[in-house]
């Protein structure tokens, strides 16, 4: 084949451009630390990266939801613990007053009235701006002072994973007025104490026990929910880690490999420059004469 001067210079130019382009690509990979810097670098991988990133955003959101639900469950647990203590106190007063008919009625009446007041307050507990025992009626105080329930049987639902929901108890009437109406029992006890009706006082002891059982049941349920939430939380964390790893292995460049590639490319570019300098220089004119 006849090789002409412009063929040689064109080839040299093309090679230099190609090497320089590859060098620039490697440089970009090294600077960004990413193998995929635009969709065309790896169209399939790019689609995957988008999917992983979406999944990670969702998992982060689920984690936030779970934290929220855990806080709420803890809040309910603490409140119901207090409620149970109040019930025990009320029962103790009933037992105490029923046994010794004459003992210090006035003090007992004041105490039980206080207990009732606290009970109403606790049943109207607010977390943030929301009444937690009001069902869906979260902006209305669920219990009036006479014990009327203004809430409904709504619940609080948490999204814990794709298409998975968990429901947390929010129905105050079930807790305070289920099988036994604790407000009514307290009212009856106060009436019994005021009217010195020992039978009436005595008959409230069983009701308080019943009410306490009812609260214990709800506490057990919410304890189980809490454990469940913790479990899902751990799973979410694990999933998050897995997806982060998958995303890195798809998107990230392996640093050692990149550095070696870059050095090789740099060498190739220098060689091309060297060759260009040698090829372009000599002509027959250097050797004539």
């Amino acid at each position: 084949m006849r090789v002409t001067n412009s063929m040689m210079t064109a080839t040299v130019k093309r090679n230099l451009f190609r090497q320089a382009e590859q060098l620039a690509n490697k440089q970009e990979t090294m600077a960004s630390g990413k193998r995929i810097n635009r969709p065309s670098d790896d169209p399939l991988g790019y689609g995957k990266v988008l999917d992983y990133r979406k999944t990670l955003t969702s998992l982060g959101q689920y984690d936030r939801n779970i934290q929220n639900a855990k806080n709420r469950t803890e809040f309910i647990e603490t409140t119901l613990e207090g409620v149970e203590e109040l019930m025990v106190d009320a029962k103790n007063w009933a037992v105490n007053q029923f046994a010794s008919a004459s003992m210090d009625r006035e003090a007992a009446i004041t105490s039980v009235q206080n207990i009732r007041e606290q009970m109403v307050q606790m049943s109207n507990s607010k977390m943030g701006n929301v009444y937690v025992f009001a069902g869906f009626q979260t902006l209305t105080p669920p219990f009036a002072s006479d014990g009327t329930y203004n809430g409904d049987n709504g619940y609080y639902s948490v999204m814990t994973a794709d298409n998975m929901e968990m429901q947390v108890e929010a129905d105050g009437s079930r807790i305070f007025q289920g099988a036994e109406d604790v407000f009514d029992a307290l009212d009856q006890l106060i009436v019994g104490l005021q009217t010195d009706d020992v039978t009436l006082i005595q008959s409230q002891i069983g009701r308080f026990e019943q009410a306490q059982e009812q609260v214990q049941m709800v506490r057990a349920e919410s304890g189980a929910k809490y454990q469940q939430l913790q479990l899902v939380e751990q799973q979410t964390a694990k999933l998050k880690l897995t997806f982060e790893e998958m995303m890195d292995s798809t998107e990230k460049a392996i640093i050692e490999e990149t550095v070696i590639d870059f050095n090789n490319q740099e060498l190739a570019y220098e060689l091309a420059l060297n060759a260009a300098a040698k090829i372009i220089q000599p002509t027959l004119m250097d050797f004539l004469r």
Partner: protein, 469 residues
Amino acid sequence: MPDIYGILSTATRSLLTQQKAIDVTGQNIANVNTPGYSRQRVVMEPSAPINFQPGQMGTGVKAAEIQRIYDGFIGGQINGENAKLGQWEATESGLERIELIFNESSGVGLEQAMGEFWSAWQDLVNNPSGYPERTALLSRSETLARTFNTMSENLQQIQLDYDRTIAGTLDEINGLSRQIVDLNDKISQVEIAGQNSNDYRDQREQLLKELSGLIETNTYENDQGQVTVLTGGGHPLVQSPHAYTLSTVTNAGGLQDVVWMDRSGTAVDITTRIGGGELKGWLDVRDGYAQDYLDQLDALAGSIMTEVNAIHQSGFGMTNDPLTGTPVTGQDFFAGTTAATMTVDAAIVLDVNRIAAAATAATVPGDNRNAVAMANLQGQLTMNGASTTFDNYYSALASGVGNDVRNASANHEYEDAMVTHLENYRESVSGVSLDEEMINLVKFQHAYDAAAKLITTVDDMLNTVLNMV
């Protein structure tokens, strides 16, 4: 007559012929870097002999013609590949611009905006009556709508940019056609006189190559050396002595269609019949790729709006309807029809409490069931005839763009290699090699020196004869 003076005239012819050869060598050296130049050579042949005893005597050399060295078939091949090269080069550069719109590797883009939109609904699930959650949801929704708007606008901007480029390219094509007609004239005039029109032919070939980079052409040459150039659908650009013009008309979409004007000025639309060249690449980007991505974006935005609105309408907000006094329902969440026109409904922008988180009117402040249904939309098969989710539809679109760019750049590279290969072949036939020209120069110079020596010898001989007298 083969006498002593005959030797002198042989020497003269030789001097003149070698001088011509040196002249042409000089022309070659001068054009070593001229694109499209074909090397030339003087065809030497012995001049007519004279009958004599004991046999015919030669009379020296003559320069028969100045020939251009080229391969008649390679030009057409180069032009064919050059049209494809131009096409893919234009397609690749257009797609690379589009790719930027879909490039989310830094983490900012539509996928992220969608993710945050659905997350904001989940935050509302956590606190359905919360004002901050509602405001955050509104701002996320506005971001989502704006992202759709921007992407759509950017794609349309690219369409408009290429639209202008197309009109500019047509001017270039028309200019080239006219120049080719001029050269056709010159070539036929020179060749009718029996000469080789070497340099004009080189020029014309160069113009034909330039033209083929812009638009696919078919060329053939008649017996007077004039070429006819045909393009899309067999419409001629050049048919000596006429050059035809390409022009534009505005189509229904407000973009320019390419038309060919016949000699009476009637326009024929050839937009879809252009087979190659940069023009084809730009038309493909404008009417094919960009339009296709726009359509898909519109489908995605449209579907999101329809699905979200359907769920939102069935839910209940916290604000009471002034007419009925009950919580508002039947409220749209998004307004608009396409990616470009998508906005959050004006009523919701004014009052975030119109966002419907509750499933029934009676359960209003604390009920999050409608918000749950909304958040669950993210994972539902809502696109492509209930076969894929919003997110997957978009990631498929983005990786589709990546694939198209890859494909275009692979085609570009392939055509580049093809054209390079063919040009190397052309160059190896027609290109000027300085080494070769130097050798020729030395060769012709030696012949010139020897011919001069012959004259000196004849001079000596004549002196000898004269001194005899």
